[in-house]
Symmetry: C3
Subunit: 347 residues, 3 copies
């Protein structure tokens, strides 16, 4: 098995320098790939491995072509070409259609013959499964969940009542979608629950990483648009809206009713306040908090870099005195102005 360099060249949209009939069977890394491997150079840091590579072919940008000792596929964006080549070399495992004996499927659920419902799954009343859907082992789909064609729930995924997934979604284990958000009213100190009756609605081609929570809407829906990619351990609270092709790295968190634009990125651990709005093309750095709406595309950061503990002790104690420092600077400026004036007068 494998693919020829001719095929990979087409898949990658590349210009081939080398033997189009060469067979590629797997992907490797520049530094340790061998016979039959294609590898790629996207990050300048790894360029030093290129002259010694033993791979059969390398995907790279034109400026590295000369230094390449083996066949190469020259592309504009090695990262993108690498993604496409990997998808060709490592296609998803095929669906084994059918419902496993141990799965519990409500009589009112709709499961087409092309879908795979694996061991120990539960599909509740009114669930609708699309064609070529994989529901992996141990998944729970509560009442009226809808899963679009070609979507895959890898394993141990829980979709709460009324959750809707579009087509070709990929949901990793431990994910919970559509659980109640945090809706509370206060009655003389005690909390009264506000029933959460909205849904979580995901578009097409959405990926959700392991152990991530996406809550249902309070009234109205939580909406994740087409092509959004969400990493592991993320929290998306009730009534959040996320625009097309936005990506959120691990441990990011978005509080309730916030609207994130399209083509945004949130770095790992980024925390976004509730009831605000980020326009399209906003990029929030990792470990940064965002408290107010962002109305201008760009990169936004509040990451606090760590330092040696003894330096931290000295410097961060001053955070309590920043306002005093400004006042002292202002006082000095005034006094120096007076002195300068006198000096100039008397000088």
């Amino acid at each position: 098995m494998g693919l020829t360099l001719r095929e990979l060249t087409q898949i990658a949209g590349a210009e081939l320098h080398g033997d189009p009939g060469r067979i590629i069977t797997h992907i490797g890394r520049l530094q340790d790939a061998g016979e039959g491997a294609v590898t790629f150079l996207a990050n300048r840091r790894y360029a030093s491995f290129l002259p010694e590579t033993k791979a059969s072919a390398v995907i790279l940008a034109v400026e590295h072509a000369e230094a390449c000792p083996v066949d190469c596929l020259i592309v504009g964006d090695p990262n993108l070409a690498h993604a496409r080549v990997m998808a060709a070399l490592y296609p998803d495992a095929p669906i084994v259609s059918g419902v496993h004996d141990s799965a519990i499927v409500d009589a009112s659920a709709q499961v087409p013959a092309t879908a795979e419902i694996s061991a120990n799954c539960y599909l509740g009343p009114g669930v609708v499964i699309g064609d070529d859907v994989l529901v992996g082992p141990g998944c729970v789909l509560l009442d009226n969940v809808v899963v679009g064609d070609g979507s895959r729930l890898v394993a141990s995924v829980t979709l709460c009542r009324d959750t809707r997934l579009g087509e070709r979604c990929l949901i990793h284990p431990g994910v919970v979608i559509g659980a109640d958000g945090f809706g509370l009213a206060n009655d003389a100190g005690a909390w009264v629950k506000v029933p959460q009756i909205g849904r979580a609605v995901l578009g097409d081609d959405v990926e959700v990483g392991s152990c991530t929570s996406i809550d249902c809407g309070a009234i109205g829906d939580t909406v994740i648009a087409d092509g959004v990619k969400i990493d592991s351990q993320v929290h998306v609270a009730h009534n959040v809206q996320i625009g097309r092709h936005t990506a959120m790295a691990g441990c990011a968190a978005i509080a309730g009713s916030t609207k994130i634009g399209a083509y945004c990125t949130l770095g790992g651990g980024a925390e976004i306040n509730g009831h605000i709005e980020l326009v399209d093309h906003v990029h929030v750095s990792g470990a940064s908090g965002t408290m107010r709406s962002i109305k201008k595309p760009g990169v936004y950061t509040s990451t606090v870099p760590s330092m040696e503990h003894s330096d931290w002790l000295k410097n961060f104690a001053q955070l309590r005195h920043l306002n005093d420092m400004v006042k002292r600077i202002r006082a000095l400026e005034k006094e120096v102005a007076v002195l300068r004036e006198r000096d100039e007068t008397h000088g």
Copy 2:
């Protein structure tokens, strides 16, 4: 089906301006609600939608009554009234009592006839389930777990050995309660596990959001008091104590042996150090760290607001120099004092 405005007025403790016989069937939002919907106005931001609303009735505070074009229920606290009205319009789904064929229930477990044990659940030895309890699909209850009357485990909940839930608790999918905390001793570099033998004990009316972890005590118990509300993706470490009616938003984290008072709130992503104590009525802002005990009620914050990346680069580099800045200011103050004195002497 539905409720009359007369009924809702009683439920909300409201004063009705309108037709007590009008039938309300559902809740809506000011901006898009229609015939048969009740809606509410709690947040001033949405007041502009009021004059145009097509809802059948609006729950609001007295200052907005005049601007309301339809029937209204005047209340002191629209949020609270809204919660009560929603609970009346959207009651919990009724329990379908009985044990599903696919559930594995140990012979020594006690399950009353009024409880629902759903598909693919596991109830271990010594488990005790109260009346009217829902154990949703895919839950795992290990040895000697006790679940109080009226509590609901929505689905895919794991309660570890000896965990105790009070009455009317609501536990969302992906939650793990009573797993081992992080107890380690060090033996010349290698870690030796400290067995965790305490329990996790939750009071009545506790809600726990999706994918939250509450660890068992090391020795003694982790204790969550009555009425505590915990959002998604939260971590409560071993031997933490949380007082009555405290609420913790998503991704908050409390390190081991810390005691949080009653009527506190922790914002999203708030991180509380271990072995400290927060008194009652402390409110920690989102994305804020708390390292030391807080002995006075109030609002506490350390959120670092994001800014444009270029501004961040310039400003945050100075965090390493804060102490130097203070020294330089002090030196300037001394010098200016000398100059001023001389100036006054010679002036």
Copy 3:
């Protein structure tokens, strides 16, 4: 049942002051332990409870021996002795070997007679289970997972395809190991998934806390070395390497391709950037971010301590002006130098 003080003295490597034949049945806390309990004093904060303790014996350091009113075991490190004594008094529950009727085990999976496969588990094709392994209720092990001898998956654990656990690992509920990491390439705004084909490989004696995610490698493996201890709600991204005996507290997060040395500790909520390296013996404080490689052992911190909200408002607004403050200080220094010089010239 129970153990004699003679036995516990040997287990703890202690010097005994007291009756070697005394029977100890359980562990307690200094302040409320009673007859038959051993307790320990490791933290000076609790020393005031010692003179009044009603425990049968206390594990303590030599400086507290005199103040102890009951039998005592004198040791160099009470924490470590306490861990060893607890392990003796509270051994793991024995394995109940065999495969539960409700477990789904693929015909090609290898399960030795000494292993326990509990209710509602799924073991896929090619899974290999070691001797004395516990796979608790509701676990899902996808294709070709390998679990080493003596490891325990408490319940509701999901191990994705090809994941390898060493011997004596302890994995708590809700954990997901080996799910896809966040590998994306960008095609004119839209994200293209990069197939994740590496594995997650854990060494011996690794503990993983509830609801933690450890992603598989993109190409090559995510590697967790022997003796690593990971708390709850942690995220370890693709291709991370963690050295021997490193410990990570709750909600810590490590971005992709980062290498953490041996004997490190990460405090709760510590966030480590991707593609960096921390050498051995680095300790990152809780709630601290680390953006760059750390090449020197030591303690590193960026925790921002919370303060009263009104103080925060005043002080943190200045974070946007730190660079300005430095410029103003520099300008003042220059002006004061000029004034001083003139003063000295004219003085």
